[in-house]
Structures are given as structure tokens and as C-alpha cells.
């Protein structure tokens, strides 16, 4: 029976090639998009999985609440926290470990003492307990050896790179930061890419040096702390001891109120308030957004299917009648129609697989993630595809099957079934739903494009073009060579100016600190500090609105502040601030000598912070070089050569400020591309569906069209008649879509401090686009119908 069903199904599909093509095309594109989205989400959801104690692992994170309502989050904790917690929480926590990120220069010598390798690399200072929390796979050695200073553990890949072969890495050593030699005491298997802690080089925590090792008020985002909860304890049982802990250690008064939270391991990849060592965050809401888009795509493809199938059912009524007369049960008919749907779904799935494979490289490019469509590696993909096929087949096949199998045999045999029995009302509703989805996506795409353009073109208060940020080492010996470096760089033709600084005016790296203005009392908000020398202002093209720029100095002796700071301090006239004494970080005080016009120190998602700029030679980390844009290529080479001759023992690194700033909006860019692609796909699916439907309506109304022609209707009048209902449906779809789209885009735009005003234009444009495409799609077919030979249609029945 099934074989016969299948045979008839395939014959039927072949008979109606046009509809089959539309069905399969729409379904396969929808399916391919769904599979791609699934693979991506599956990869993102696989982060930080597979640890034995995974559900008991937590990261301690910090939070500051300010009186002005702002709060600030960091994945970092004060450096003494790990030790204190180990002591105070011993009752609840099995293991506590600090992990400190860092980076520097690694030199590996060969057996003869000759330099084999020099490179910069990220390192982690880790306590041995860390490996009690995370069960990494040890290939050689064990974690306990790491309790001694000057020891290191490498990942397999690093060990291979440094020593040729990881098997003989143990016992060898390398030099770090031209300072200490570390002896390899263990090798762990490579940490998979979907991990928030990309361990490659692990150094003994005993070697970690910082002036803040006992300081509870300084937090760096690179100092993280992980804990392993004891079995049988719930994380909420830590609340009471935590509040005691907070009052015990945070004794100093600070503008922000500190507190800590225990963040479950499985949240680290998804919580955008905190960063992580891997630098990859995928907020859950974006994944949900993708899921919704995927579901929408599938839905539109299924709607096509239902519409075409119910529409087609009329032409099959005779077959159904005959089958019923021959004694077929309704169930059997349903089974037969579902077989047909399944055949289509499976065909669509095969094409979808090909499309997925074809689209994968560009997808990997877009997300920068190593996702693969290997069903052997990820059998779950296979499961997903099976489920997808079944769901699609049932969703789109069941209703038409139910309608068709319900035909009365007497009427069906006489061909007396009207298309309306297939639920023209339902078909109309489905088309409206489909187009509402399409219009929402079109509006979303238009707004995203507009916002991105706005971000690109909005003046940010300084000129970032043709500026290279060249890293400089800042140990005490290197600092002494700063003047020489600057002098030599300035001599390079093509260099306009150069400035040592801690960061460019706009940077993701911002330092906050307490301060006081013209009084002995600390202000109730934090000050963003930027260390820079006297050339900072002309290098970046910052504009002064009062006073003067900084004068040459190696230590902090005077400040330039920005407008926002004055606004927050209620100083109305910038000139009033000149000469006022400011005290920063409790140690440094001096007069304000100038006020700089506001510039965006953050991404445009955030508002401008109150800022003070000061000179402090010891804290510079980069030299910003403004170049002649025409000579940039050559100049960059010269700068690198000069830099290498000044710091032969270090590794050169640089980036263009333009690129850095563009990278702020990476996720928006990805979102924009995704929206463009999916909007395109959904428009395509909707419109081939529409084309199928108008084809059907035109066929169904052939006789009416012919009669009307005979009664004297012109082609234009007939096209108008056929198009009318479709245009009306798309118009209603627009009305449905507008409020939904408004909710969605205004929510998205709220994430930006600087955003375009939401005008009516994207909405109107979306309506025009959708109506226009509908008009074209429908007219192509209805024109053909209106021009068709009249007498053929009026032959005797």
C-alpha cells in the first residue's frame, strides 16, 4: 500500500511540475536556513559543557551600584578575594581558585642555548585547585606540581609548537617577559574552541606579581575566580555568608557599593554584562531572535505549501471521489496525501542539505566560529533534520489532507467541488500572516541599515583616520627609551604627530576611579581617566573649548577635563573650572588647565563618561601615530623597523584606530547581514508562494475571466480584478505588521545611546516594497490569464 501511495505521490508531483517546484524551492530554502540557524545555535549552546562537575562550578563576579542609578559589572574580582573566600567559605565550597590573565613575550631556546622562537602569547596564572574544579585531560604530569613557583603547564598544541613534540616537553623550560624561566611540569589536552577559558599556557600563580595583591578596591577584568560548590549545597545557601563576607572585607568608603555574585558556569558564554577570557559572548536574546527568525522562515514555507495544496485539491476531487466510491477509508486517503507531503519534504531536505553545505563557508566567515555540518560529529543535526522533516510534513500536509479526504464522493465525482471548500478564508488569513512576517523583517532590515549608517557617519568628536596605535612595553627600563622612540618615529617621513597614551579617546578599555573636585569630599560618581602626553590633543584632533592643553610632564600635575564632567558637577561656564583643584585616586592632585569638547569615549551604545586627561609616563601602553594617509603603507613599515631597533627584545604590535572603532559594531554588522539575508529569503519564499496562489486563482477563474471578456471586459480590467484581492491582503498584512515591527525596532534601538529617530519612512517604504513586488508578481500571471484564449475556456463542459 505504501509503495503504491509513494508511486502515485511521485506521479502527481511530476504532473504538477510547476507547483511542485514552487513547493520544493520554498521549503528547501526555508529548511536550509533553519538548519544553518540550528547548527549555529547548537554550536553556541555547546559552550563550557562536558565538565564532570559542570553544574557545581561558579564564577565569582563583581557588581557596583552607584547612587545615580548606574551600576557597573565586571567578571574580575579583587585579587585577595580568592584566598579570603577559600578561608571564609570552606564550609560550602569544595575548591576555590584564582585565575589571572596576562600576556607577554615568550622565548624558547634550543638545546644549544640558541633562540628558537620569540613570540607574544596570552598566559594564565593559575592555582593548582583550578584543575580540581575543571577536569581537564592530563597528557603528562599533574596539577599538584603547579604549586611550586617557576612551573608551567602547556596545552598540547603549545607544547608541540615550543618543543616540537609534546611528549618531550616536560622538564624543558622557556623564558617569559625576558625575566623568569618556567619549567614545564605538565601537558594538558587542547581545550576545545567552544570554551570560555582558552587555556594554552598556564603559569604558577606564585609567580603573579601585582601591587594590588592585597588591595580590595582595585579590580581588573583579568582577575577571575572560580569556585566549586560542595555536593548537596544550593548556591542560594551562600547568600548569608556572602553578605557577612562583604561587610568584613569592604571597609573603605567608595562611590560605588560593591557586591559579588556567583555566576553559574553555563551562563558565562551568554551573559553580556560580563566578559570572559575567550572574549566571546553570545547573548541569549540574540539566539532567541535567531530561533524566532528560523521559525518564521519555516512557517512561511509551510504556508506556501498549505495554500498551494488546498488550492490544488479541487483539481484532484475526481480522483478522491473515485477512490471513495471504490471503498477507500478516509484514513487511507489521509495517509496517501501525507505520503505525498513527505515525499516533497524529503526532496526539499536533500536540496536543503546541498544549500546548507554551500552557505556554510560564508556563515563561518560571518560568525568567525568553527561550525561544521558534519552529521557524524554531531548526530544531533541528523535528529534535528528528521524532526524538521516530520514537523514540516505534518504541519503543511495535515490540513490539506483533512480537507481533501472530507470531500463528498457524489459531488467530487461530478467535479462539483468548488475551490472555496478548500477554505479560501483560511488561505487568505495565511497569506496575511505570511506577509505580515515578511513586512516585519523588511522594516527591521531597513531600520538596522539606517542605524548602522548613522553610527558610521556620526561625528565622534575626534578624527580616528590614519592613526596607528602601536603597543609599547611599560616596564621601568622600556619607559626610559620612550623619548628616543618618539623622536625617531617623528623623523619618519609621513608621520604627522605622535603621542604616548594609555588608550585612544575611544576605547573599550576604560578606567574608572574616585575623585574630588574643588573640595575634600569625593564626588558620588566615578571619573574616567586617560593618561596621555602633550601631543594627544593634536594627534587625535580633539578640540578645546576653554583653557589650554596639557604641558609636557612625566607625572600627573594638571588635568584637562571634558564637558560631560562639568555638566555632572553642575559647572555651567567651562571657564569657571579652569584653575580649580582636582584630586584623583586620592593620590594625585592638581589644577584643571583646560576643558575639551565632548568626544565619544565608548561605543555609541553608551553615553559619554566624565573624563579627565592627564600625563603619567609610567602608565602609557601605546604610542598613537598620526600619518599622512597617502604614505601610510611605507610609513607603517618604517615605524615597525624603528620600533624593533628600539625594543629588539620585544614583539611589535599595532592596529589602526579606524578598524578598532569599526569592530565595536561587529555584532550589529552581523545582525544587519543576517537580517538582509533572511529578509531576502523570506521575501523570496513569500513571493513564490504568492505566484503559486495567483496561478491557481487564475486557473480557477479561467471560465469567469473568459465570460467577462466576452461580455466586453478589457485586459486591464481583468488584471485589475484578479490583482485586487491580493493587493488588499498585502495591505492588511502591512497594517498587522506595523505595530509588531514598531515594538521590535524601538526595543532594539533603545540599546543605543545614539540612535536614529524612528520615522514613518521605513514603514511606508516596506509597504511600498511589498505592494510593488506583489503587484509585479501577481500581474505577470494575471496578465497571462487575462490574455488567454477565450474560446478554449468556454468549450462545452
Amino acid at each position: 500500500m505504501f509503495k503504491l501511495n509513494l508511486k502515485i505521490a511521485l506521479r502527481n508531483l511530476w504532473k504538477n511540475k510547476g507547483y511542485t517546484l514552487i513547493n520544493i524551492l520554498g521549503l528547501s530554502i526555508g529548511m536550509a536556513s533553519c538548519i544553518l540557524i540550528f547548527i549555529f545555535i547548537n554550536y553556541q549552546m555547546s559552550y563550557d559543557k562536558g565538565y564532570k562537575n559542570g553544574n557545581r562550578i561558579y564564577r565569582v563576579v563583581s557588581e557596583w551600584k552607584y547612587t545615580d542609578g548606574n551600576d557597573f559589572h565586571s567578571q574580575g574580582v579583587p585579587r585577595p578575594l580568592a584566598a579570603a573566600m577559600r578561608n571564609d567559605f570552606s564550609q560550602y565550597l569544595e575548591k576555590v581558585s584564582a585565575i589571572q590573565g596576562g600576556g607577554g613575550i615568550i622565548k624558547v631556546n634550543d638545546a644549544h642555548g640558541k633562540e628558537r622562537l620569540k613570540t607574544t602569547a596570552d598566559v594564565f596564572y593559575v592555582e593548582p585547585d583550578f584543575f580540581g574544579i575543571f577536569d581537564f585531560k592530563w597528557l603528562a604530569g599533574n596539577a599538584q606540581a603547579l604549586k611550586d613557583p617557576n612551573t608551567t603547564v602547556l596545552s598540547k598544541k603549545m607544547a608541540n609548537r615550543f618543543f616540537g613534540n609534546w611528549q618531550n616537553a616536560v622538564g624543558q623550560s622557556f623564558n617569559y617577559q625576558n625575566d623568569i624561566n618556567y619549567k614545564v611540569v605538565g601537558v594538558i589536552d587542547d581545550v576545545p574552541e567552544n570554551n570560555s577559558i582558552p587555556l594554552t599556557i598556564v603559569l604558577s600563580y606564585k609567580n603573579y606579581k601585582s601591587k594590588d595583591l592585597t588591595n580590595w578596591s582595585a579590580v581588573s577584568s583579568a582577575s577571575e575566580c572560580y569556585v566549586l560548590l560542595k555536593k548537596g549545597f544550593d548556591v542560594s545557601s551562600l547568600d548569608a555568608p556572602l553578605s557577612k563576607f562583604l561587610t568584613k572585607y569592604y571597609t573603605e568608603k567608595a562611590p560605588g557599593k560593591e557586591s559579588h555574585n556567583f555566576q553559574p558556569l553555563n551562563q558565562i558564554h551568554y551573559d553580556e554584562r560580563y566578559g570572559n577570557f575567550a572574549g566571546s559572548i553570545m547573548p541569549m536574546k540574540e539566539l532567541y531572535g535567531l530561533m524566532v527568525i528560523g521559525a518564521f522562515l519555516m512557517l512561511t514555507a509551510c504556508i506556501n505549501f498549505i495554500n498551494l495544496a488546498t488550492a490544488q485539491s479541487v483539481s484532484r476531487s475526481k480522483e478522491i471521489g473515485v477512490r471513495k466510491v471504490m471503498g477507500s477509508m478516509r484514513k487511507q486517503l489521509i495517509a496517501q496525501f501525507l505520503t505525498e507531503t513527505f515525499a516533497i519534504s524529503v526532496l526539499a531536505l536533500l536540496i536543503a542539505c546541498v544549500l546548507t553545505e554551500a552557505a556554510l563557508p560564508s556563515m563561518q566567515n560571518l560568525f568567525g566560529a568553527k561550525i561544521s555540518f558534519s552529521m557524524l560529529q554531531n548526530p544531533v543535526i541528523l535528529v534535528f533534520m528528521a524532526v524538521l522533516t516530520v514537523v514540516v510534513a505534518c504541519l503543511s500536509g495535515f490540513y490539506p489532507a483533512l480537507v481533501m479526504s472530507g470531500f463528498s464522493p457524489a459531488l467530487a465525482i461530478k467535479n462539483k467541488i468548488k475551490a472555496n471548500t478548500g477554505g479560501l478564508g483560511l488561505r487568505k488569513v495565511l497569506v496575511v500572516v505570511q506577509f505580515a512576517i515578511t513586512v516585519v523583517l523588511i522594516i527591521g532590515t531597513l531600520v538596522i541599515i539606517k542605524q548602522m549608517q548613522y553610527l558610521r557617519e556620526r561625528p565622534i568628536g575626534f578624527n580616528p583616520s590614519a592613526i596607528a596605535m602601536v603597543d609599547v612595553p611599560n616596564d621601568s627600563i622600556s619607559v626610559q627609551r620612550y623619548d628616543a622612540l618618539k623622536q625617531r618615529i617623528m623623523q619618519i617621513p609621513g608621520v604627522k604627530s605622535a603621542s604616548f597614551c594609555s588608550a585612544a579617546p575611544s576605547s573599550l578599555n576604560n578606567n574608572g576611579t574616585s575623585f574630588s573636585y574643588n573640595s575634600s569630599k569625593d564626588a558620588d560618581f566615578d571619573l574616567n581617566t586617560k593618561m596621555a602626553d602633550e601631543n594627544y590633543f593634536n594627534t587625535f584632533g580633539l578640540q578645546m573649548i576653554a583653557g589650554r592643553t596639557l604641558s609636557k610632564s612625566d607625572t600627573i600635575k594638571e588635568f584637562v577635563v571634558n564637558e560631560t564632567l562639568l555638566k555632572k558637577l553642575n559647572v555651567l561656564n567651562p571657564n569657571d573650572a579652569i584653575g580649580k583643584i582636582m584630586r584623583v585616586s586620592r593620590n594625585f592632585s592638581g589644577p584643571i588647565v583646560g576643558v575639551v569638547k565632548d568626544f565619544n569615549n565608548n561605543t555609541l551604545r553608551d553615553a559619554i563618561s566624565p573624563i579627565a586627561i592627564m600625563s603619567h609616563k609610567k602608565t602609557y601602553t601605546a604610542i598613537a601615530v598620526k600619518m599622512d594617509s597617502k604614505l601610510m603603507m611605507q610609513t607603517m613599515k618604517d615605524i615597525e623597523k624603528t620600533w624593533n631597533s628600539v625594543y629588539p627584545e620585544y614583539v611589535y604590535g599595532s592596529s589602526f584606530l579606524d578598524d578598532v572603532i569599526n569592530n565595536y559594531y561587529q555584532s550589529e554588522k552581523i545582525m544587519g547581514i543576517l537580517f538582509k539575508v533572511f529578509a531576502g529569503v523570506i521575501i523570496f519564499i513569500s513571493f513564490i508562494g504568492l505566484f503559486g496562489l495567483i496561478s491557481f486563482v487564475a486557473t480557477q477563474r479561467t471560465k469567469e475571466v473568459a465570460i467577462r471578456r466576452v461580455l466586453g471586459a478589457s485586459t486591464f480590467e481583468l488584471v485589475k480584478m484578479l490583482n485586487g484581492s491580493f493587493l488588499l491582503m498585502v495591505f492588511i498584512a502591512n497594517l498587522v505588521a506595523w505595530p509588531l515591527a514598531y515594538l521590535f525596532v524601538s526595543k532594539w534601538l533603545n540599546g543605543f545611546a545614539y540612535r536614529v529617530d524612528l520615522s514613518i519612512w521605513p514603514f511606508v517604504l516596506a509597504m511600498c516594497i511589498s505592494m510593488f513586488i506583489t503587484l509585479i508578481t501577481v500581474s505577470i500571471r494575471s496578465y497571462k490569464a487575462a490574455r488567454a484564449n477565450t474560446i478554449d475556456a468556454l468549450k462545452y463542459e
Binding site: 466586453g712 471586459a713 477565450t790 474560446i791
Partner: protein
């Protein structure tokens, strides 16, 4: 009123021409009631379609009220039959989704006639055909004869000068058929409407005043019917 000169119609299939009509030359004057007769496949319906401008002859000249139809563009042609020709079909060809009144109104819509005028013409014709009570029914609620009455009413409402009827009684019982034929005769005699019908039935042909006999695409006979 109608002048046909050497009308030919054939379909070329793989180089072989299959003729439907050959050397058809005739003229029909205003006020005539002509029946076209002949066996199946003789080309009766094709001739009627050509006369109704639904098909174009392969060769030949066709003058309708002094205008050369083959030389007209589509718009002009539509204009012509909007104003002068009414069709009646064997299968009635009413629009199923429209009521009787709406079906009758349809040709008036295409003639851009004002709504008041439309209403009065429809009322008038419903009255004349005694189908006022049926005006809000749908075609499938009527008997075949009633449907054909509506079909004729629809053809007449636009006040054509000629009615082309393709086996108007082919689907009807004899009693109903007689009624329809009487109506045609009455229209021809009282309102001087030219009528051209295709029919198989000798009896129906007798209602008219001229019979064209077609065989294998050629007019074999052109007889006048004796006035009864």
C-alpha cells in the same frame, strides 16, 4: 450588416494544415434570423466564434457594420462587441459566484453605464423575462431553462444589434427549448434584433428565416425558410 469574404481557418500541425473553414463567403443583413446547421466538427462553432470576434480567421475579410474587423486592434474590437454583440451559450456560462441580477449587470459595468440606468435596465429585463422573483438567486439554484433565460437576458441587457447563440437549447428539455426559441423569434420579429444561432435541430432551425448548411468547412446550402 455582416460581410464575409473568402474566410479560411486552419491549424498547422507539423506542416499539415487541417482546415476548419474553407472559402466561406456570405452576408447577413440586419434583422435576419439565421441558423447555422451541420454535423459535428463541420466548423459551425468556429464560424460563430469568428463572427463573434473571439477567433481570428487565418485568411479572408470580415466586415462588421462596414468596419474591417481583421484590421482592428483589440481595443476597437472590444468596443465593437461591447456595443453590438450579445452572446448566448449552450452551457449558459453564468458566473457562479454572482446572483442573477449581478450576472445581468456585468456587461453594463464594462459599458460604463451609470448605476441608475443599470438598475432600471435590469429591472426592465427581469420584468420582461418574468424572473423578478429569481433575481437574488445564484445560478446553481435555477433550472437549466431558467439559467438560459438569464443568459439571454444578460445578452440583451446591453441592447446589442445582433445575438450570437451557440446551441442555446442543446442542454435543455424540449419544453424549455421551445420556450427559448419562441423568445428568440419574438425578439427577432418585435425588436428587429439580428440573431445567428448554431443548432443541430431541424425543428429549431425552422424558427429562423434562413439556414446555412455547413459540411467540412464549406457552406453547402443557403436556404430561406418558408414563412409558416
Amino acid at each position: 450588416m455582416i460581410e464575409l469574404k473568402n474566410i479560411e481557418k486552419y491549424y498547422a500541425n507539423k506542416g499539415v494544415k487541417s482546415y476548419i473553414l474553407r472559402h466561406v463567403t456570405t452576408s447577413i443583413k440586419a434583422g435576419e434570423f439565421v441558423s447555422i446547421m451541420g454535423p459535428s466538427g463541420a466548423g459551425k462553432s468556429t464560424l460563430l466564434n469568428i463572427l463573434g470576434m473571439l477567433e481570428e480567421p487565418t485568411y479572408g475579410e470580415y466586415h462588421f457594420m462596414g468596419e474591417d474587423v481583421t484590421a482592428l486592434n483589440e481595443r476597437k474590437r472590444i468596443e465593437l462587441y461591447r456595443n453590438h454583440i450579445g452572446f448566448v451559450f449552450q452551457a449558459y456560462h453564468l458566473i457562479d459566484e454572482m446572483t442573477v441580477a449581478e450576472n445581468i449587470e456585468a456587461p453594463l459595468l464594462y459599458k460604463k453605464i451609470s448605476s441608475g440606468e443599470r438598475k432600471s435596465r435590469i429591472a426592465d429585463i427581469l420584468d420582461r423575462f418574468n424572473i423578478v422573483a429569481k433575481k437574488d438567486l445564484f445560478p446553481n439554484q435555477l433550472s437549466g431553462g431558467q439559467q438560459q433565460l438569464v443568459g439571454i437576458a444578460r445578452a440583451l441587457v446591453a441592447q446589442p444589434s445582433i445575438i450570437l447563440a451557440d446551441e442555446p437549447t442543446g442542454n435543455l428539455q424540449s419544453a424549455q427549448a421551445e420556450q427559448i426559441m419562441d423568445l428568440f423569434k419574438k425578439l427577432n420579429e418585435e425588436e428587429k434584433i439580428t440573431i445567428l444561432q448554431v443548432t443541430h435541430s431541424e425543428k429549431n432551425a425552422q424558427y429562423g428565416n434562413r439556414i446555412l448548411n455547413i459540411e467540412d468547412g464549406v457552406i453547402k446550402e443557403d436556404l430561406a425558410v418558408a414563412v409558416r
